[in-house]
């Protein structure tokens, strides 16, 4: 059986705006990924715990509330603590180019601001998977 890329789509913090998360989750599913959606109101700890339990390849955070400068660094820290070196942390939402640059420098994967293409995000994840996981037997 082919191995599918497993992605956790997660909403962090108090933010209840889930349009983006749901659209992305559906798009990833239709692109052939195995998608787990966290639902609302997750702490960084809860997200990392789910990622470990579900053995995901990718954590994709959707955020609108402006709390991204707190959320991403905390998740990164917890990922390091748990030796999740082979898991990609990516995400998208209402983030300025400056903030995105700062977070990517801290060690997140590519982050997607408003108006980003979903196809590009899918390509990015597939590409990352090919380069970082053993066999590119997806597709």
């Amino acid at each position: 059986m082919e191995k599918k890329i497993r992605v956790l789509v997660a909403k962090a913090g108090l933010d209840g705006h889930d349009r983006g998360a749901k659209v992305v989750a559906s798009f990833f599913r239709d692109a052939g990924f195995e998608v787990i959606y966290s639902g609302l109101r997750q702490t960084p700890q809860m997200i990392v715990d789910t990622a470990l339990q579900e053995d995901v390849d990718v954590i994709a955070i959707s955020i609108l509330s402006g709390a991204h400068m707190m959320v991403f660094p905390k998740i990164l820290e917890l990922m390091k603590k748990n030796n999740m070196n082979d898991v990609l942390l990516t995400g998208g939402g209402i983030m300025s180019e400056d903030d995105i640059k700062k977070l990517e420098e801290l060690g997140t994967g590519r982050l997607f601001g408003p108006g980003s293409s979903l196809k590009e995000a899918v390509e990015y994840i597939r590409d990352w998977y090919r380069k970082n996981k053993k066999i590119p037997n997806e597709e």
């Binding site: 349009r19 749901k22 959606y37 639902g39 709390a67 209402i94 108006g115």
Partner: protein, 547 residues
Amino acid sequence: MDQKAYKRWQEEVKKAKTRDAKFITASGNPVELMGIPDMLEDFDYDRDLGMPGQFPFTRGVHANMYRGRLWTMRQFAGFGSPEDTNARFKYLLENGQTGLSVAFDLPTLMGRDSDDPWSEGEVGICGVSVSSLRDMEILFDGIPLDKVSTSMTINSPAIILLAFYVAVAEKQGVSPEQLRGTVQNDILKEYIAQKEYIFPPNPSMRIIVDMIEYCTEKMPLWNTISISGYHIREAGSTALQELAFTLADGFAYIEAALERGLDIDEFAPRLSFFFNSHNDFFEEVAKFRAARRIYAKRMRDKYGAKKERSWILRFHTQTAGCTLTAQQPENNIVRVAYQALAAVFGGTQSLHTNSMDETLALPSEKAVKIALRTQQILAYETGVPHTIDPFGGSYFMEDLTNKMEQGAEEYFQKIDDLGGVIPAIEKGFFQKEIAQAAYRYQVEIENGDRYIVGVNAFKEKNEKIEIPLLQVSPEVEKRQVERLKALKRERDNTKVNSLLKELRQAAVENKNLMPVIVECAKAYATVGEMVNTLKEVFGEYRESADF
């Protein structure tokens, strides 16, 4: 209609070259090439439109509409500390804004104090932080509450923020019956779309009816709910879903208040609505017109309201935040202007125009001023407000309005079949409908079936997005937490504790919660303390994580 000419026209249309484009509305419905008289075979002017200010109010709610009074220009504002937002309010009032509208931060919206662990990183970020009456006093410092009208976008803890407002007014020597404004207080759309719920639906509905009861008696000028389609649309619904789900919510509140034994003609005049104005110009105008007609008919014929005032659907409009683009952000000024124009053709009572920088941050002072000026140009330069409902009688517009009404009636039937709004929420009906519409819209953009200028068409090569953005300093959170700690030391804690016990008791005994919450507010009990007390009695709502 000359059938020969019509046939010939149809033939010519068939032969004519057509652009390679999809002629569908923003909601994905096919658009008629042109309106023709045959579309309105059953049209009856008096029954379907009537005079403005008269049943069924299709053309508007006032006899002379904007010649009497322009719509209220009301820019939603709130960020950082209460001091920051107080300064923004004063700036907007100085620039000719005519009403205030408060945006609270996520902790406040979720009933959490600024020192709650869940609030970390979110204090003052997407609105102003208010944890106690102390913050509210600063927020309205120097603003005479007997002169301005204030709209507060607050839902789950609306009863608490309204109590704060009443308490601040009292300190200014202004009595509750003088206060003008609105609390959004629309919990149903929280379960459906925006997801800032705290308690389960039934106790939430009870709190809302408590407020309606209290305001009907003590605050006759206050709008008790702003039944909101805005967030439903922003979550990705179609125009028709926005219309149908919002009106269904409205009818659910009315039925809940009737069950309490309240008189419809006492409370209905204080209900108001809040709609989105999206990109598709005609569809939006039709939506606003249909909303008034559906509401008037139901209020008179189904609920038996006697007063004309109870039949009137009054609404606030905000332009569609979700249509703005981070790319070439100045283009957003133009989008907002068209959307504002649709709202005015639709007969809105008040309007918020979005700022061009809102895809990235809360608006800067300059951006918000341009947004306000957009409304002022529309009001004073275009001549649009001089006449009433200029699309009235247009074959195309009347047909579209009829289709909106029919489509909404079909949705009402579906919701009834599911057992009403709350059972439909619990079954995830609205949530699924909206998610599917949002997905379809996004896929249309991805596939190039729908163009967004600057995003998938007319892109700038290597665009660097450079507009000044409003930054909220992390210092705000520190200062808010310190202020809250000081407050908790200084206030009379014995009194606070005994009042919180009384609040718990009132919740258990099904007493109206508003009077005791006003007392708690005056004693400086915090939002978090009151909400946690109520959580002990009512529990918390969770939704399943479907997509």
